[in-house]
């Protein structure tokens, strides 16, 4: 990624394995703390929400994206700029309905699950990467966009792809779009 002069200068990298192992430890600990998969999923989402509300500021400071004029522009920025910046991947975007407020991110690769082959026994409804859903939801909310974000498909559960569904909820006038995530 190029670093034009007006961007914030620091961009420290950390070891990917350390990050992936840390995330794994987080999920494993939540699994020890909560018996039900729904509880673990919910707490991952809550944690992600807390991260997203803060991460969005970092994102806006670093990426200098302009004002967005449509939900699909927002989705493109999430997939091509934000995911690339924080996870090094570029999911593809599909639009799932004609009113153009339901979208999906299809993750071809997912670094977070690199060492997890399959969900452990008894944890078949665990959404291992649910933190991501919370992050996206929290980030969007900080730019005044309400959205439902969930996993529609998950490779760890046996599906062929990993798909995150984002449904923008209409809170205000269609015309008023704020600067995105």
């Amino acid at each position: 990624m190029s670093h034009p002069a007006h961007r914030r200068p620091e961009y420290h990298k950390i070891n990917k394995d350390l990050f992936v192992l840390t995330y794994g430890a987080l999920v494993a600990q939540l699994c020890k703390d909560y018996e039900k998969d729904e509880d673990v999923n919910q707490y991952l989402d809550k944690m992600g929400y807390g991260i997203g509300t803060r991460l969005v500021e970092d994102f806006l400071a670093r990426s200098c994206v302009g004002r967005c004029h449509s939900y699909s522009e927002i989705m493109d920025i999430i997939a091509q700029v934000a995911f690339k910046m924080y996870l090094g991947i570029t999911p593809s975007v599909t639009c799932n309905n004609s009113s153009r407020n339901e979208f999906s991110l299809i993750l071809d690769k997912n670094p977070l699950v690199e060492f997890v082959e399959e969900l452990p026994a008894g944890r078949s409804s665990l959404c291992y990467c649910n933190l991501l859903c919370g992050i996206i939801r929290g980030a969007l909310e900080m730019v005044h966009l309400a959205a439902d974000v969930t996993f529609l498909q998950d490779r760890l559960k046996g599906d062929s792809v990993t798909e995150i569904g984002i449904t923008f909820l209409k809170k205000r006038d269609e015309k008023k779009y704020r600067r995105k995530k």
Binding site: D17, V20, L21, G24, A25, V27, A28, C31, E114, F115, V116, E117, E118, L119, P120, A121
Partner: protein, 111 residues
């Protein structure tokens, strides 16, 4: 190609052991156990001498063909199993298909 592959925990019990001919499986278990002594000897022989941290492959315990590449692959697969957050240290390695596939690729096929 291998006839038997084993991963041994530091407490000297097997985390994973598989051999191809199904008869005489006990023979392989004994062989693995006795080879632990040879491993100990080699490690204590290195002693104060400069131990290259990366070179975990001790070399051949008994002189035959060179299997360095195979051991490296085995070690890499083992580290991936260890990095699984749901795998606890000391567990048998039983739910990792990738590890099984890697071992299968190394074992000779005996019909």
């Amino acid at each position: 190609m291998a006839v038997c592959i084993a991963v041994i925990a530091k407490e000297n019990y097997p985390l994973y052991i598989r051999s191809t001919p199904t008869e005489n499986e006990l023979k392989f278990h004994y062989m693995v156990h006795t080879s632990l002594d040879v491993v100990d000897e080699k490690i204590s022989a290195m002693g104060k001498a400069l131990v290259d941290q990366r070179e975990l492959y001790l070399g051949l315990l008994y002189p035959t063909k060179d299997y360095k590449v195979m051991f490296r692959k085995l070690h890499n697969s083992y580290t991936v199993v260890m990095c699984n957050p749901f795998y606890n240290s000391g567990d048998r390695i039983q739910s990792s298909r990738a590890f099984d596939n890697m071992v299968t690729s190394m074992m000779i096929q005996v019909c």
